[in-house]
């Protein structure tokens, strides 16, 4: 009896210590993702206290869930690019071009689901092209993708001649409902769009690829110390090209989804608005600019934060011209928070 008691006391007295160090360790390993989550919660609370009625109303989140997936797809894929030490500014043009490929396929009679996969293949191919130009052309990816963004958008504009294309009849198809259909969560007024679910699937896929797959592991090592990775037999060029393929596929998915979200209407510049949004989300999400490390979940939270700010600010009663100010403030404050928990080690 006595010994049993002693054992219990011991276990209890030891527990807080191990529990604390476990949390400390968890924070040290995931500090940047947790900061991004904290930023999201704080932004939400800040808006919510200003207008609780709106922020407790599910209808507010219908719009949020509808618009956030595009940013999620783009931001999480950019983690691979930035972590490998590259930068991709060409994805907005790929979004537009891929939307066009999707739209033309549907107009030409390809069913929505095969058209979607065709578009993903197009995204992979154009990403491969961009990667090859950057890596084998030995051009800084910042400059190369900046130029390619204009170039690709230019080609799309020339081909489209300023037209927008629509195919409303495809909205009756099974594929359309599968990708962007909406359903009520239980008996609430909250309507969850399917593309939000697909974006969660994409986040899970990226998380496993980034953290537990050889590919993600090597992307991180190439970004951390390229010379060392090369000496250890990692094919640097292949990794660097591949991150642009990931980015291209995500941009293509986004392009095909944006067309469907707009009730099967395509206009060539549909990706343009996402350039700074996705990059801001990435850095708010805690992926540092210097490469080598990054966080998929952080990017996910960052995408939610930057999507929440414009509509949230207006909803909270701020006049529209406050939006940029709040946006900038959130970016700067989260950057400072990330510095505290994720300073660079050399």
């Amino acid at each position: 009896m006595n010994t049993a008691n002693d054992a219990t006391t011991d276990a209890i007295s030891e527990d807080p210590c191990t529990e604390q160090s476990r949390w400390t360790l968890f924070y040290r390993k995931n500090g940047r993702a947790l900061n991004a989550f904290l930023a999201l919660v704080l932004v939400w609370v800040f808006f919510a206290v200003n207008n609780p009625a709106l922020f407790l109303n599910p209808l507010f989140y219908n719009a949020f869930l509808f618009s956030v997936p595009a940013t999620i797809f783009l931001t999480t894929s950019l983690v691979f690019v930035i972590v490998s030490g590259e930068l991709d500014l060409a994805f907005p043009s790929v979004v537009g071009a891929a939307g066009g490929v999707f739209m033309y396929s549907v107009v030409l009679g390809v069913p929505v689901i095969p058209a979607f996969f065709l578009t993903m293949g197009f995204g992979a191919l154009i990403g491969l092209g961009i990667g090859l130009i950057v890596v084998y052309g030995r051009i800084s990816s910042l400059v190369a993708t900046l130029g390619l963004n204009f170039f690709i958008l230019g080609i799309v504009n020339l081909l489209a001649q300023g037209r927008t294309i629509s195919a409303p009849e495809a909205m009756n198809s099974f594929g359309y409902k599968l990708f962007v259909g909406k359903w009520h969560l239980f008996d609430t007024t909250l309507r969850v769009p399917n593309h939000f679910i697909w974006s969660l699937v994409w986040v899970a896929f990226c998380y496993v690829l980034f953290k537990y797959h050889r590919f993600g592991n090597r992307v991180q090592l190439v970004g951390d110390n390229t010379d060392s990775a090369r000496e250890m037999g990692i094919n640097i060029e292949r990794i660097r090209v591949s991150v642009f393929v990931v980015s291209g596929v995500a941009a293509a998915i986004t392009g095909a989804l944006l067309v469907q979200m707009a009730n099967m209407v395509w206009f060539p510049t549909s990706g343009k608005a996402y350039l700074l949004i996705a990059l801001a989300a990435l850095f708010v999400g805690g992926t540092p600019t210097w490469g080598g490390v990054g966080t998929i979940f952080g990017a996910f939270f960052g995408a939610m934060t930057v999507t929440l700010i414009p509509s949230g600010a207006v909803g909270a009663g701020f006049a529209g011209y406050w939006t940029d100010f709040i946006f900038g403030l959130v970016i700067i404050l989260t950057m400072i928070a990330h510095r505290f928990s994720g300073a660079r080690v050399r």
């Binding site: 797959h213 592991n217 090592l221 951390d224 110390n225 010379d227 250890m232 037999g233 080598g292 080690v345």
Partner: protein, 263 residues
């Protein structure tokens, strides 16, 4: 070190030119199994070219590289590694923002057939390798970030990685340069552990006292060619070796008649 120990790496009349500059002009060097060979030479003597040649970074313009009795051609970093020679370069070795285990398995991850990392298996293997060279501590474990480790500990990571890669010859490029005394002692312990496991170490250093303490035999290079070599027992002490190197620097040759009969 018994003189009868078999050669594991033999460089024969290695010539390496960069344009009109001849960095190595016919170096012949033998590395014997199980020894710690100290490689010495002034800046610009050809030391780093010789190391890079050992590592496969440079393919010699002339001469032969023989590893375990076989002539190796072509000579590339991959060929050197396949032959069991692992080189740890001073600054370029590690990814500082990643864990010890990630660094040990860099480029040779243990994965399943889908390419997913076998995390626990890697940690167990890392623990085993780290214990093998006495690279253990209460303050770090295989999941600790390399950037938080001291200079000597980082050498431990690089050496553990070399062991995982089944190297039997480990070339350490200036592993103790810029390290404190205690950190240097740590590196020496790792080297001793590697040696006692029957493997071979080539130790390159600026600080002759460091090299003296750890090496069994010395090979001194000067102006792209071998100046002299000798077992530790053929010198009366570190000062003898230093005196010969001074002589070499001043007159261009060292008086090898002062070397004792090894025994």
């Amino acid at each position: 070190m018994s003189a009868a120990s078999e050669p594991v790496v033999e460089l024969r009349s290695i010539v390496k030119r960069f344009g009109s500059v001849e960095a190595l002009s016919g170096v012949t060097m033998t590395v014997r199994r199980g020894e710690v060979l100290g490689l010495l030479g002034d800046n610009g003597a050809g030391k780093s070219t010789l190391i890079k040649t050992l590592a496969g970074v440079h393919d010699p313009d002339d001469g032969e590289i023989i590893v375990k009795g076989k002539v190796r051609k072509p000579w590339t970093p991959a060929a050197a590694r396949d032959a069991g020679i692992e080189t740890v370069f001073q600054d370029r070795a590690l990814a500082p923002q990643h864990s010890i285990v990630t660094n040990i398995f860099m480029g040779r991850e243990i994965t399943n057939s889908f390419g997913l990392l076998r995390v626990q298996m890697q940690i167990d293997e890392a623990n085993r390798l780290m214990r093998e060279i006495g690279f253990t501590s209460k303050v770090f474990n295989p999941e600790s970030t390399v950037g938080t480790l001291s200079g000597g500990e980082r050498q431990g990571v690089a050496i553990a990685r070399a062991l995982y890669n089944q190297a039997d010859v480990i070339v350490l490029d200036e592993p103790t340069t810029a390290l404190s005394l205690t950190e240097t002692q740590k590196v020496f312990r790792f080297v001793e552990a590697v040696k006692s496991s029957g493997r071979t170490v080539v130790f390159i250093g600026h600080n002759i006292y460091h090299v003296w303490d750890i090496a069994d035999r010395f090979f001194v290079i000067d102006r792209g060619t071998e100046a002299f070599e000798g077992a530790k027992s053929s010198f009366t002490g570190a000062d003898h070796l230093i005196e010969m190197m001074h002589q070499l620097a001043e007159t261009g040759s060292a008086d090898t008649s002062s070397l004792l009969e090894p025994g």
